[in-house]
Each structure stands twice: as structure tokens, then as C-alpha cells.
């Protein structure tokens, strides 16, 4: 049996911090390849990102990790645990827990592009977790590469010493050995007491149909093996370990023990992903640690929306698909919802907008479902006159205004990193979105970070796209929930021919309600076909109409020619019309095409 202390001395636990496209996956591939664990032939391109969707978007959703065996030029063997981190603003907490499992981080920066806001946010997160951050300058083979400027950038903005930073090209396999050298020399070996009571951090989990939940852990103190009765301190669940092991590239390698300082997995016939909460502490029930690890947070959805099948008959398929997705994604929540306009569906909760989009796309792509998604909503705190507080995630559930004392909405702290020439335009955007200016810092002569406090419901309303367009794609953005603040909010309803369209109701800041209402009724007018009668389309707040359009009555619907040769054609036309009717939803006696809901609910220029 290996000596835990010796094992610890040759172990390095690290992650890679990089902006999308700056080369994280490629570098990971190179490290895996050159550590000699897999042959060239076995190498699948981009081993770490294994979901199609992730690859397409160039982002990592689910952390994957891998254990490498590296033999240094002096013959010393090292065990390198590369822990992957999800790369998006919606998953900040998950990132922080992955970081907490490491002693160091490689900061990979594209030599042609420099640092981006999201990278910065993750670097700060790493520094908060006391990680040794090792800069790596990538893509030095690009014609536009400016390694010296990039190094200066890192020194000025983050204050890291870039003296010995490896200058590499992961793609061209240039200077990768320098990265290995930096990892073993700069990143400290784990410390921890193998003889102390078991204390391990859960940083991810994965559902497997045969083994149940596979829990990804970093052992801090103690030892873990098959048969250990483990206790998950936050969820208060106890299981017996069936298997423990390491992460081989693309596979799990069982092992006798997992010692302090090691990274690996356990299985314990766990049926439910929700029993394993990221950031939770695993201990031995027979020899428990007195204190859980710091930093645990229960992650709650921040963004909600209704998801309905276009074809009502697919309701059960939708439920099954959501259940399957939830097996691997405990942060996805859903419960049945009924809409007069859209029929049966689910109210779903997500960590953020990107999470929402990913789930929606997976439902459509992997489960072949055609969906209607209602406008995203955040959770409002409704303080009622009876003293109770309602967490409102569905605008349709808003109580009668006479029962509301006041309402609060979630506010986020946003950091926007941008070239200085766009400061004016972006400040304007933030003001339009009710932002409160906190401060601005020039990183160098050309770039600055803007800090704003913004209501979350303004961010979920096409903020990203507008930010990108106003900064010609150069601004990057990161946010964190700050808390709730009292706000003047109203529910905007849409009435078609005097009937409420429940699926189109949403909560909005009172001063922008009229403008939003006007846009919606204008859009809706274009989407509803003319009927035999005139149709008023109104946006209302309570009983007050704030915007109105009138769709005129249908004047003409007749084919003026129908002779012998036209009959077959005419019949086909009628058939098509009939088919189209099936895709209509009835709002009172008005038939509204499904497409209308989708187009009106689309976030862009809504």
C-alpha cells in the first residue's frame, strides 16, 4: 500500500481558467496526450468537453476531470489531477467549488486577445480560494499574437508575476513541457492529514444508469475506501461506498483507497442526484469530522419560465425528458403548470439564462420536442398585507394588488470589462436598464471595468445581446446575486379580444411597463391573422389599458377563379389551411397561431 504522505508530495491538483476559445480544451488535450496516458490514436479531440452542445458553444457545462501520470525529465513521477470547471456566469458557485478542490490554477490567456471579464472573475475566485495562479500565454503562433503585451496585461490587471510564464501554442504543441514544469514547480502539493477524520469535498456528480450517482470528490483529510459508511453533512444522507477510484481519461479506474490530497469518485447506490449537493462535505459516520468544509451554499434557480409542448400530446414525453435531464442536473427544477393559452406544460427553474437556453436546446435536439417557452422571469418577493412573503416565480400567480404591501426584486452586482471607447454606450445601456453605477477602474489606457448594480429582470431581457451589439462584441460581462431590493413593479397583462392571454403576462418595472406593453401589442397584431370581426389587442396593468392596437376585421378571403384545372389546387389549399388551424390556440373565440406566441416571446426587440 502506497504511503499517503509520499503520495501527497507528488500530487498536484489544478484546474484551468480561460475564456471561451482561449484554448482550455486544447491545452487539456495536450496535457493528457503528453502525460502518456492515452496513445495518440485513442485521443479523441477535446477529451474534456463531451457533450455535443458544449462543443458547439465552446463551453463546458459539466465538469469533467482527469488524473494524469507525469514523469519529469529528472525521472520523478507526479500525479496530476486536472479538475475541469464549468465556464459560464450561471455556474459561478460550481466553479468556486471546483476551485476549492485544487491548490493551483493555470490561467490560460490568448496572446492575441488578452483578458476578458469572465476570466477575471474566475481568477479572483481562484485567488479567494488561495490558489496558486500560474499564467500560461497561449496561441503564440498566431500572427496577431503579442505575448509581451499579454504578459504586461496580466501583470497590470491581476498583479501576477509573468516572469517564467510558459509561452505556448496548445494547438501547435509548442512548449507544452514548460506547462508541466510550471505545474509541478509552482503549484503546491496538497496538505492535509490522512489520519484525521474523513473530510472530503463534493465538487460534481454524474448519473449512471448502472452505478447510480457517481460523486466527484476531493479528499481533504482522512482516507476513504470501499465499505466506508459516508455521511453527506448538508443533505444529511448516509450511504455505504460501493466503489472508489480515479478519473482516467474518458473512464473511471477503481482503486482501493482515496487518501487525503487525492481527487476521485465514489459510488454508493445513490439514486438521486439531489442527494449529492455540490460543495457538501463527505465524512465517515463512524468517525465524523466535527466541522464541515466552509463555502457550502444551497443553489437555487434564479430564472424561471414555462415550457410547453407545441403538440399537447407530447406532455408526457416532455416530463420524461425533463426527468432524464434532471438526473444529471440537480439545479434544474420543474413542476406542472397549466396555461389557458398554451395548455399543459411545466414551470421550470434555472440557474440563469444560459442554463435555460441549454436545457431548451437539449430538449429540442436530444429529445426531439417542439416547445413553446414563455418569457423568462426571476423570483420576486411579494410582501403581502397579511405579513407573509410570497416567492413569486410565475407572474400568473401574483396576488390581487390590494393584498400586496410591496414587492422586492433580485439585484445583481455586474462587472463589465470593455475597451474604453465603449464606456459611454455601455453606461447608457446600464442606465436604461435601471443600473446603479458603483464604480469604474481603468485597467490600462485602453480598457476599463465598469461596476453596476442591476435588477436581474433587466438582464434576462436581452441584456447580453444588446451589450454585445453596443460594444461591437468587445464587452464581456459577469454577475453575482447581491440581494433583494424594494421596487415599483407591476404585472403587465395582454388581452386579445378582451380575453387574458395568461402565457404573455409578466412582471415589469412600472416606468417601463407602457413601452413594453406597446411593443408586445404591436408585435402581436402582426402575428394574429384577421378574423371575421375586429380584434382589440390590449396591454393592461390591472384595469388600466396602457397600450392598444386594433386588428381590423377580415375583408376578403376568396379565390376569385376556380375552374376545372384549379380544383385539385384549391383542395390542397383548403387542406393546408385546415392543417394550419390545428396549430392554432384559442383565446376566447380568437385563433392565435403558436408561432405568434414564440415570436412575441422572443427576447430580441420584444
Amino acid at each position: 500500500m502506497a504511503d499517503p504522505k509520499k503520495q501527497m508530495a507528488i500530487t498536484r491538483n489544478f484546474c484551468i481558467i480561460a475564456h471561451i476559445d482561449h484554448g482550455k480544451s486544447t491545452l487539456a488535450d495536450r496535457l493528457i496526450e503528453m502525460a502518456g496516458v492515452l496513445t495518440q490514436r485513442e485521443m479523441q479531440s477535446q477529451v474534456l468537453d463531451n457533450m455535443d452542445l458544449e462543443r458547439e458553444r465552446g463551453i463546458t457545462i459539466k465538469a469533467q476531470s482527469v488524473r494524469l501520470v507525469y514523469i519529469a525529465p529528472d525521472g520523478q513521477e507526479y500525479i496530476l489531477n486536472l479538475i475541469d470547471t464549468p465556464g459560464h456566469v450561471d455556474f459561478t458557485y460550481e466553479v468556486s467549488r471546483s476551485l476549492a478542490a485544487c491548490e493551483g490554477a493555470l490561467l490560460v490567456v490568448d496572446a492575441a486577445q488578452g483578458i476578458e471579464a469572465q476570466t477575471l472573475a474566475n481568477v479572483y475566485l481562484a485567488l479567494e480560494n488561495n490558489l496558486e495562479v500560474v499564467p500560461v500565454i497561449n496561441k503564440i503562433d498566431l500572427p496577431a499574437a503579442d505575448p509581451d503585451a499579454t504578459k504586461a496585461d496580466i501583470e497590470n490587471i491581476i498583479g501576477l508575476d509573468t516572469e517564467g510564464a510558459p509561452l505556448i501554442s496548445a494547438k501547435a504543441k509548442l512548449n507544452i513541457e514548460q506547462v508541466f514544469d510550471s505545474i509541478v514547480k509552482s503549484i503546491p502539493a496538497p496538505s492535509g492529514d490522512p489520519d484525521a477524520p474523513l473530510k472530503a469535498l463534493i465538487f460534481d456528480s454524474l448519473y449512471d444508469a448502472y452505478k447510480g450517482v457517481i460523486v466527484f470528490i476531493r479528499v481533504i483529510d482522512g482516507t476513504l475506501k470501499k465499505g466506508t459508511k459516508v455521511h453527506f453533512m448538508a443533505t444529511n444522507k448516509t450511504f455505504e461506498v460501493v466503489e472508489a477510484g480515479y478519473f482516467g481519461p474518458g473512464k473511471f479506474i477503481p482503486s482501493e483507497n482515496l487518501f487525503a490530497g487525492e481527487v476521485g469518485y465514489i459510488t454508493a447506490s445513490i439514486k438521486n442526484v439531489s442527494d449529492t449537493s455540490i460543495g457538501d462535505t463527505v465524512t465517515d459516520i463512524n468517525n465524523p469530522t466535527p466541522e464541515p468544509l466552509p463555502g457550502y451554499k444551497r443553489v437555487n434557480p434564479m430564472v424561471y419560465c414555462g415550457i410547453f409542448p407545441q403538440d399537447g400530446a407530447k406532455y408526457n414525453d416532455l416530463r420524461e425528458s425533463l426527468e432524464k435531464l434532471q438526473l444529471n442536473d440537480a439545479s434544474l427544477q420543474f413542476e406542472p403548470e397549466t396555461s389557458i393559452a398554451l395548455g399543459f406544460g411545466f414551470r421550470c427553474g434555472f440557474l440563469g439564462l444560459l442554463h435555460l437556453e441549454i436545457i431548451q436546446e437539449r430538449l429540442e435536439r436530444e429529445y426531439n420536442l417542439e416547445l413553446i417557452t414563455t418569457a423568462p422571469s426571476v423570483i420576486y418577493k411579494v410582501h403581502k398585507t397579511d405579513g407573509t412573503v410570497l416567492d413569486l416565480s410565475n407572474p400568473a400567480d401574483l396576488p390581487n394588488p390590494s393584498h400586496i404591501e410591496y414587492m422586492e426584486e433580485p439585484i445583481v452586482k455586474a462587472e463589465i470589462l470593455l475597451p474604453s471607447e465603449f464606456i459611454g454606450a455601455v453606461m447608457e445601456l446600464c442606465q436604461e436598464r435601471r443600473g446603479v453605477y458603483i464604480g469604474m477602474e481603468y485597467l490600462d489606457s485602453k480598457r476599463a471595468t465598469l461596476s453596476y448594480e442591476l435588477p436581474l429582470n433587466e438582464i434576462i431581457y436581452d441584456f447580453f445581446d444588446t451589450l454585445k451589439s453596443r460594444s461591437r462584441g468587445y464587452a464581456s460581462f459577469d454577475y453575482d446575486l447581491k440581494g433583494y431590493e424594494r421596487s415599483e413593479l407591476v404585472k403587465l397583462d395582454v388581452l386579445v379580444h378582451h380575453e387574458l392571454v395568461d402565457a404573455l403576462s409578466f412582471i415589469v418595472f412600472s416606468k417601463t411597463a407602457q413601452e413594453r406593453g406597446r411593443k408586445i401589442v404591436e408585435k402581436l397584431k402582426k402575428e394574429i391573422p384577421r378574423h371575421q370581426f375586429e380584434i382589440p389587442i390590449q396591454a393592461t396593468i390591472g384595469s388600466r389599458v396602457v397600450a392598444r392596437e386594433t386588428l381590423g376585421a377580415l375583408r376578403k378571403d376568396v379565390l376569385s377563379k376556380c375552374y376545372g384545372g384549379d380544383i385539385t389546387r384549391k383542395k390542397k389549399l383548403l387542406e393546408k389551411q385546415k392543417e394550419g388551424k390545428k396549430r392554432m390556440r384559442n383565446i376566447g373565440n380568437v385563433e392565435v397561431p403558436q408561432q405568434a406566441f414564440m415570436n412575441v416571446l422572443k427576447l430580441d426587440d420584444a
Binding site: K556, D557, I567, Q577
Partner: protein, 359 residues
Amino acid sequence: MPGIYTHIPFCVKKCSYCDFLSFPVEGNLQEDYAAALMNEISAASFTQEIDTVYIGGGTPTALPPHLLCKILNALQSLPLQNGAEITVEANPGTVDKAYLQALKAQGVNRLSFGLQTTHPHLLRTISRIHTMDDFAQNYHAAQVAGFDNINIDLMFALPGQTMAEWEATVQAVIALAPAHISAYSLTPAENTPLWAALEVNHITLPGDETDRQMYHHARQALATAGYTHYEISNFARPGSESRHNINCWRRVPYIAFGLGGHSFNGQARWNNAEDMATYLQNPGQKNGFVTISDEEAVCESIILGLRLTEGIPKSLIPSSHQPAAQKLLVDGLLATTGENIHLTPRGLDLANIVFEAFY
């Protein structure tokens, strides 16, 4: 008794709104086509007498007179009923006195002129080749040749057309006192130059509001002038209704000769080849043979019959569609007169809603 439709797919120039099968006049194609057509006609056999013949296009009179007369000759050899209605479509500018006299001599007893509008700038917009003078001369020549059953085709809601222009057109045509007038709302079809021009907003159509004003005006003015409005787009002096077309709306069988012609024998529909080379090689080839179920037949009888203003016998509507009919009566799109159910004036404007309910 079945009718016969014969298609002549040639035009001097294609109109911007036309999506019918037609070709420019060139080479020996017309001779070859006439030969194939006559083969098809002579190979056909009929067990019943034929009471209507309709030669349409394209522009039948784009053929030289001798070819069209040969075709008429071939048709005359079929078992035609005594007094059968024989119509030829003639575009202004393609006929003269001699041509018209030749047609008359071949037994043609009804002419249909595609005038469309009396305004030169509107004729240009829809790329018609004729002028108002051409039409006036042709119309006069037809009368001199002895034609007393003449139809004039009109179109309204043309790009840029004003209400006043339409009123003037209707008035001018009434002054000529033809036996029959058709008035069609211009319906842009895909894959036409008109459609393309509308897509890029080079031209715009008058809105539905104006379209209906024009239609309502025609109905009113023509009624005053003594024309019966007998089908959605057709008006006639009593007794001069198009027998051929009424047969089609009453679901009487018709057999088509020529490129892309559609036939219906009472139980099934089929069509001739739509590709010229294929047709010339094998003019008798039948395509797209579809049998009509009893249920569909009833539905067809309803939606075709309701195009006629006198409507259909109430008894024709099956019990399954009674609730739909009831709703349309309540909505004021249908009404009953005696034993018949028919479109109301509002129903004429929204006929598709009615047809859809029975489909």
C-alpha cells in the same frame, strides 16, 4: 353530358401575373403541338354526347388561324350535341376580321376576350400586349363576324389601380353590352414576375378594403345594367351564362386535351403531362390518377356549388356538417332561399371560410 377543355399553351408574351402553362410562339413547336393534340383528340372515345367545348390557354389565338381551325375540325368530329357551346379564348391584338370569320365558320359560337382593364398604364403594369384600340377593333370585328355571345374578362385590384379607374372600366364595358362579363380580383401567384415585383416592393396592390369596394361596385353596376351575378366572379345576361363553367361548378364530368389538361370523369381526376417534350412524345399519357371517395365527392359538390349564387340544395349538406352550416348561417355568411342554401354578399367576400368549414 361531359364538357371538353382543350389547352393551347402559347402566348405572344406571358403576362406578369400568369402562372399557367404557356410558351412563347417559336419554331415548329406550334405545328408539332397541334399534331399531338389532334392525335390525342382522335384517339378519345365518348359514350355520351358532348355539350360544351372550351378552348383556353395560354392564348388559343396565338396559333395561326389554320392550325386552330384544324384543331377545331378535329373537335368537331367528336359526338357534339346539336347546339353545343363552343368557346374560344381570344386575346385582343391576336385576331383580325378574317381570323374571327374563320372561327365562326368552324362552328365557334362563343368568344372570350381578355380585356382586363381599359387603362393603358395598367395594361402595361400587368404586361398585356394589347391596347384599348386593339380591343375595340377586335370586339367590333367579332360582332360583324356574327358573334353575339361574347365574354369580356376584367381584372380589378391591379397594382396602382384607383377606384375611379375601375369604375370607368366597368362603365366602358357595360357600354359595349357584351353577353357575359367576368371580373376577377388579381391574385398574385408565386413564381411570377408580378410576385417578384411585389416581394421587393417595386409595386404594391390596393389593400383588401379597396379590392372589396371594387368588387362591390362591379356587382352593383352590373346588376343595374341587367347582368345576373351567377358565380363569385361571373356576370351574364339571363340565358348567356357560361354553360361550360356552370358544368364544372355542378361537378359535371369534363375531359381535357392538351398539355397539362385536367380531366374529371365523375369518379376520378387525372391530368395530362405538364412537360412539353413528354406530351409531344405521348399525348395520351394520363398522370396523377386520383379516385374521389363518396365523402369527398359530397364535399366537392358543396364547395364548388356554393360558388354559384343560387347555391346548392340544403339536402346536399350531410348531417356531419349541419352544425358548421348552422354557424355560417348565424354568422351571416350563408343564407337560405327556398330549398337552397347559398352565400350571402358577405359570404361572397369570405367564401374560403365557408368552403373550409365543409372541407
